[in-house]
Each structure stands twice: as structure tokens, then as C-alpha cells.
């Protein structure tokens, strides 16, 4: 089943590097997933996060406020 990945962040450098990591992991491992960047602050606040960037996989917040490593993202996606 295809996963829905959302990256919450207002566009700071950290958010961009998280997006980079996630995209790499998805393409390198041929994972079926859609990646969506959520930059609108009101949308972000619906998830109740206080530190960005945050990684949301199938509507579950998995990581917030830091950039994960590739291995970490891969483990979360499997």
C-alpha cells in the first residue's frame, strides 16, 4: 500500500534537508509513497507540533524538530 509522507515545515534550511533525506530514501529503495511538503502554518498546527521540521507518515508524527538519518527514515517506512 502506498504510504503518504508529509513534511511539516515553514521552509527553513532544516526542513529542506529533511525533505532531501526523505526523497533520497524513497527513491533509493523504490518505496511506494507520495511526499508532500506542508508549508502553511495553519495546516502545520493541526498536527500539534511545536518544533519543525516534522515528519508525518500516514498521519502519524514520527519525528519532530530534527533531521533524521537515512537509516532512521527507512526503518520508519518499513
Amino acid at each position: 500500500m502506498s504510504k503518504v509522507i508529509k513534511i511539516l515545515g515553514t521552509g527553513c534550511p532544516k526542513c529542506q534537508s529533511m525533505t532531501g533525506v526523505v526523497k533520497d530514501v524513497v527513491s533509493e529503495n523504490n518505496i511506494e509513497a507520495t511526499i508532500e511538503k506542508v508549508e502553511d502554518i495553519m495546516e502545520i498546527m493541526k498536527y500539534n507540533v511545536m518544533t519543525t521540521p516534522a515528519l508525518v507518515i500516514d498521519d502519524v508524527i514520527t519525528i519532530k524538530g530534527r533531521i533524521p538519518s537515512k537509516d532512521e527514515v527507512l526503518a520508519l517506512l518499513n
Binding site: G9, T10, G11, C12, P13, K14, C15, I41, M42, I44, M45, N48, V49, M50, T51, T52, G65, R66, I67, S69
Partner: protein, 325 residues
């Protein structure tokens, strides 16, 4: 504690590179090698330590604590103290602001946190210890905490709720002392360490170029500007020095880590420490990019009041330091 670093610097400059003592270039180079090594070590230690603290004490816990407990006025001080131990990047200031407001935490208390958190952060503290020594660092940290606390109290008294943007007011209206189900990551220290380690390296990578440039400029100035050079222009009794230094500092931002080493040399060359501290607080604590971000939650008027109150408090503490130090 860092004598050995000085020995290495002396050895490199005078023995290996064969410079003569007293040469301007040699002095500058020696200063650069000594300062960079010492400061990088200190930065590493402080960032790593703060990383561990933060891993066990995340922002969600802070928020829940502040919204749950009645502290009879002490909540401003608590928020300010939490600001010290919780590193935060200015791009998180908006979600953090909303999160606090939604948790029913008063605006002034939220401000206390927002002011202290960037002002007393791990990078600034690491640099401060390296450049100015423990005593000045302790003074800086304590005054940062007090500054956040007092500004928070003042901002609360001004009753600024009406100047929030409409959608934030809506959030405020539905605010409840909600306890977000907070699932603490149950990890052992050995599981946390690699993550903390990664984070430390990332922060260091981000600031090191600025620090190096700052120390290089500082090193040059150290070698070429005569002792007491600035005393003529920025003496303690010059009433305008503190406000001018503070106002110049507010727009500076991304290069805060580069400015501190330069400021240290300015102090060595005769600028009063209070004036320099006011300048550095302006650089580290207030920034235009932060103001731009806050526009999403505050009207222009509120941002202007917020920045003015903090700027005034910084100027005041600058005068105070010049008086007591």
C-alpha cells in the same frame, strides 16, 4: 585549563613556522590558532551537553509543565529558564508560539520563553566561555534569564492580546489547558547518543565557518589595533554608546557566531563590557528574520512593541553592567 592549547599555538608559530615573537603577523596567527582550538573544543562540549539535556527534556514537556502548574508569578522566570535549556531554531518560533498559546499559557510567559531561548543558546554560551571566561558567561546567562523574565512581565502588563492576528485570536479563544498526549520516546542513553551526536555535528558544521571568519578578523584586529584604541570613542561615560551599539546589533543575525569573536577583541581594546554585552544581546536575541516569521501570528504593531520592550531592556542592562563591572 587551556594552557596546553597555548603551548601548541606557541610551538606552531614560533618553532615550526619560525616567526619572531612580537611580530604583528605572528601574534595574529598565534591568537587565531589558540582561539579557534579552544573555542571549537568548548563549543563541542557545550552543544553536546545541551543536546543530552534536551533529549530528555523536550519542548512538549516544558509546555505541559507551564500550562499545568499555577506558579504565582514565577511562571515567567520558569519559562525564561526553560528557554535556556531548550535550544530552538528561529524557524520554529511560530509553531512554538501557537503551541504555547493553545496550551493556555499567557502571552507574557510565552514571550519570556521566546526572548531567552535564542538569547542564551548553546552556541552563544560555548563562544562566551571561550572568549570572555566563565565569570562573564555566568553574568551573561543570568542577565539573559532576567531580561526574558522582566520583558515577559512588562509585555503581559501591556495587554497585547488584541494585536494578535485574527486566526491566532481564534486559537486563543478555544485555548484549553489541554495536555497533549505526549509520548516520551523511551530510549536508553546509548540509543539516544547517535542521534545527539549527529545533531552536534550538524550544529557545529553550521557555525564553524562563521566562527573561523570571526576569529580571523578578530585575530587581525588583535594584532594591529593598539590597546585602549576605542576608549577615546566609547568610554563608559559616553551615554549614547550603549543605545547605539544595541540598535546597530538588532538587524545582524546569521553571523552572530562570527560577531562574538570580533566583539571580544573590541572589549580587549577598550570598549566597556556592558556596551559590548548589550551589542551581543542585540545580535543574538533579536533579529529581523525572526520578526518576519512572527508576522504570521502578530500584527506589525505587536512585533514593534515586542522588539522595543526587549531593546529597551537590553539597553538598560548595558548601562547596568557598565556601572557594576
Amino acid at each position: 585549563m587551556f594552557d596546553w592549547v597555548q603551548h601548541i599555538a606557541d610551538w606552531l608559530v614560533y618553532d615550526v613556522l619560525n616567526f619572531n615573537k612580537g611580530q604583528h603577523l605572528a601574534e595574529a596567527l598565534n591568537f587565531f590558532i589558540y582561539d579557534t582550538t579552544k573555542i571549537l573544543i568548548l563549543l563541542f562540549v557545550v552543544i553536546f551537553f545541551m543536546g543530552i539535556v534536551n533529549s530528555y527534556f523536550p519542548i512538549d514537556k516544558v509546555k505541559n509543565y507551564l500550562s499545568r502548574n499555577k506558579l504565582y508569578g514565577l511562571e515567567y522566570l520558569m519559562a525564561s529558564l526553560f528557554g535556556v535549556v531548550t535550544p530552538f531554531c528561529s524557524c520554529s518560533s511560530v509553531p512554538l508560539f501557537i503551541g504555547f498559546v493553545r496550551g493556555g499559557i499567557p502571552l507574557g510567559v510565552t514571550f519570556a520563553f521566546l526572548i531567552t531561548s535564542p538569547l542564551v543558546n548553546e552556541v552563544a554560551v560555548g563562544l562566551f566561555i571561550g572568549l570572555f571566561g566563565i565569570k562573564t558567561t555566568v553574568i551573561y546567562v543570568i542577565s539573559g534569564v532576567l531580561l526574558g523574565t522582566i520583558s515577559g512581565v512588562i509585555l503581559q502588563k501591556l495587554k497585547l492580546d488584541t494585536y494578535l492576528t485574527p486566526w491566532v485570536k481564534e486559537v486563543l479563544a478555544t485555548a484549553q489547558k489541554e495536555q497533549d498526549a505526549f509520548i516520551a520516546e523511551k530510549q536508553t542513553l546509548s540509543q539516544r547518543l547517535p542521534i545527539i551526536w549527529d545533531e552536534v555535528l550538524k550544529i557545529l558544521k553550521g557555525v564553524v565557518p562563521y566562527v573561523l571568519v570571526g576569529i580571523a578578523i578578530g585575530g587581525l584586529m588583535h594584532g594591529y589595533i593598539p590597546e585602549g584604541f576605542f576608549e577615546k570613542y566609547m568610554a563608559k561615560d559616553n551615554l549614547f554608546a550603549v543605545p547605539i551599539a544595541t540598535i546597530l546589533a538588532v538587524p545582524m543575525y546569521s553571523n552572530a557566531s562570527g560577531i562574538l569573536p570580533v566583539a571580544q577583541v573590541l572589549v580587549a581594546k577598550g570598549i566597556p563590557l556592558g556596551t559590548a554585552i548589550a551589542f551581543m544581546m542585540g545580535v543574538v536575541g533579536l533579529s529581523l528574520p525572526e520578526a518576519m516569521l512572527l508576522k504570521k501570528v502578530m500584527t506589525f504593531k505587536l512585533i514593534a512593541i515586542f522588539f522595543s520592550v526587549v531593546t529597551l531592556c537590553i539597553i538598560f542592562s548595558g548601562y547596568l553592567f557598565n556601572l557594576i563591572l
